[in-house]
């Protein structure tokens, strides 16, 4: 058996074991005494939901990262860096405001607020990706891509702040917007798991089905098309399913950066660049990564926001990648 064929099953075995270990750690570590029989069941329920939501959000961010990196043929692309996460977050804020101001009184019995939030996030993410692709087009200029993503991200965050300022007239509304904007998985329950699960699972399945086409796109759009790939279809599918995955992640975990960048980057040297391995491995590793980051976030007396922990890990990795890309100009 060749080194490569042995390495991949070993990597998947390790990721399964790590996933189980991360879940167990997520159940055991945190504020509150599990030894107290009156609290144990409640604490375990809360921590289980929290770990499940973190795992789903991490998987979604990581696979979303693989999709945009594959489509843009750039390992520095990720939903958070390209403004997709900020777009989803802005869409979510808008959805909360529209629901609370106009629909809550009339549609409260028919629409579940979380569903409206997910749709808002999806529309925001899709709009940001379409805007990015319209601006960047077929250019492969890394700096242009990153700067456009940065500008879009800043724009969406500014509009989000403006919305927050508008929402301050209503205490309840501003509280809902703030809670969503800060993100995190602290208050997650089975309801959040139920909403994120279908979005994330369907996103991962579709991304796996796109694997072959994303592999061919590594040779560029012209060559992929000459080999039989309908590039416009792949572009549409990437926009749609990155939006679904980002919406699934942001609607339950808020604006968490860098997961989609760090996880696929760490996996490429182990499982290679072929998407049939990279997509499922990223889903497993992304889940583990965010569960572990969430555990770290609740270690101090006062909990740190989840995005701060991922940022502390992700920012140095991003800088390292940027320096390497400048030196080598190659993929991965």
């Amino acid at each position: 058996m060749s080194q490569r064929t042995l390495r991949i099953p070993l990597a998947f075995g390790a990721l399964f074991v790590l996933s189980v270990a991360a879940f167990i750690a997520g159940l055991l570590i945190g504020q509150g005494d599990l030894g107290d029989p009156r609290l144990r069941d409640t604490l375990l329920d809360l921590r289980l939901s929290r770990a499940a939501v973190a795992y789903l959000a991490g998987a979604a961010h990581a696979v979303g990262g693989v999709l945009v990196q594959g489509f843009f043929r750039n390992p520095l692309a990720s939903p958070s860096i390209l403004g997709t996460t900020a777009g989803a977050s802005l869409g979510g804020q808008l959805a909360i405001m529209v629901f609370n101001l106009f629909l809550a009184s009339t549609l409260a019995g028919y629409i579940v607020p979380e569903m409206f939030l997910s749709v808002g996030c999806m529309v925001g993410a899709a709009a940001s990706l379409i805007l990015l692709m319209a601006i960047v087009g077929r250019r492969r200029d890394l700096i242009f891509l990153l700067l456009t993503g940065f500008i879009l991200s800043s724009l969406f965050l500014s509009v989000g702040s403006f919305l927050f300022a508008l929402a301050q007239d209503s205490w309840e509304l501003s509280r809902a917007v703030v809670a969503f904007s800060f993100g995190g998985v602290a208050g997650s329950g089975p309801r959040q798991v139920a909403f994120a699960l279908p979005l994330v699972v369907s996103g991962v399945v579709v991304a796996s089905l796109l694997s072959k086409r994303l592999d061919l796109l590594l040779s560029g759009e012209d060559e992929a098309q000459s080999l039989g790939v309908n590039v416009d279809d792949v572009r549409f599918m990437c926009i749609l399913w990155t939006s679904v995955l980002t919406a699934g992640a942001v609607s339950v975990g808020g604006n968490v950066a860098f997961v989609g960048l760090v996880v696929p980057h760490a996996l490429r040297p182990i499982v290679g660049v072929e998407h049939r391995f990279l997509v499922p491995a990223s889903a497993l590793a992304g889940g583990c990564f965010l569960v572990l980051c969430d555990i770290v976030s609740r270690l101090p007396q006062h909990e740190i926001p989840l995005g701060v922990v991922t940022g502390l890990v992700g920012a140095p990795v991003f800088l390292l990648l940027l320096v390497r890309a400048r030196r080598r100009g190659t993929y991965g």
Binding site: L218, S219, G220, E223, G228, N230, V273, Y331
Partner: protein, 260 residues
């Protein structure tokens, strides 16, 4: 000379009155030619003549006005997969910059044929045949990025062969090849035409065109200046008109591959 297919078979490629405009610049004007199965056709011309544009238009990679038919079917009526089953394209240089293995890159040529039910051993045999035909079987597990320019070029030819298409478009395939592999490539192309394929090849070396191709199209600033049998196209008048060169009759040392 290659065997000609039965006359009832439609032209492999028929290009009629094709215009291509790129960023307000007219790259091809009223280009008309035909290529039949069993022949090698050279596309000649100086830099900027429109040779690559012509190949890309024939692949449907550039918008064009006019008519292009592949095997008697209008290009626009074919889906991307159907085009890839009929036409294979070897670019001047691949944009691939990911460390995929050579076997994987060649396997990409099978994409248009693959379904969820494709038999893996059959696919593997096709890939192995393409690797062997281009003399890169020993490189199968190497990373594409670790290869020399010439080796990478042979991988791209193998990928095109793996498609199983009967029309092969090659854009300067000998540009980075040593003389031995360049001659081997021409021998391979000749064998493919003897099996009934149609090869259209962009070449800069007029001597290679004279030695290894049956027909030629000479382009200059997007216009067809001459077309026909290669020996008639590479003649004093059109070459002087397009390149401003005088013919040379100096004897020169030539090389060929030993007989197999």
């Amino acid at each position: 000379m290659a065997e000609r297919p039965p006359t009832s078979e439609p032209c492999a490629v028929s290009v009629r009155g094709v215009h291509v405009t790129l960023r307000k610049h007219v790259a091809l004007r009223d280009v008309t030619f035909e290529a039949t199965y069993g022949t090698i056709t050279a596309v000649l011309g100086p830099n900027g003549a429109g040779k690559t544009t012509l190949l890309k238009s024939m692949m449907g990679l550039l918008p064009y006005a006019g008519a292009i038919e592949i095997g008697g079917v209008e290009l626009g009526a074919l889906s991307y997969r159907q085009r890839a089953e009929r036409l294979a394209y070897v670019p001047q240089r691949s944009a691939l910059d990911a460390p995929l293995s050579v076997a994987t890159v060649v396997g990409h040529g099978r994409y248009a044929h693959q379904t969820r039910l494709s038999l893996i051993p059959e696919e593997r045999r096709t890939i192995e045949r393409a690797l062997a035909a281009t003399d890169i079987a020993d490189l199968a597990e190497r990373s594409y990025l670790d290869l020399s320019d010439g080796e990478q070029r042979r991988v791209l030819v193998a990928r095109a062969l793996a498609t199983g298409a009967r029309v092969l478009l090659l854009d300067e395939p000998t540009a980075s090849l040593d003389i031995s592999h360049a001659l081997a490539l021409f021998r391979l192309l000749r064998r493919l035409t003897q099996d009934g394929m149609c090869v259209i090849i962009v070449l800069h070396d007029l001597n290679d065109a004279l030695s290894f191709t049956d027909r030629a199209i000479l382009l200059d600033r997007g216009l067809v200046v001459a077309q026909g049998a290669t020996g008639e196209v590479i003649a004093e008048q059109p070459i002087r008109q397009v390149y401003g060169l005088e013919p040379s009759t100096e004897p020169r040392l030539c090389f060929r591959l030993p007989e197999p």
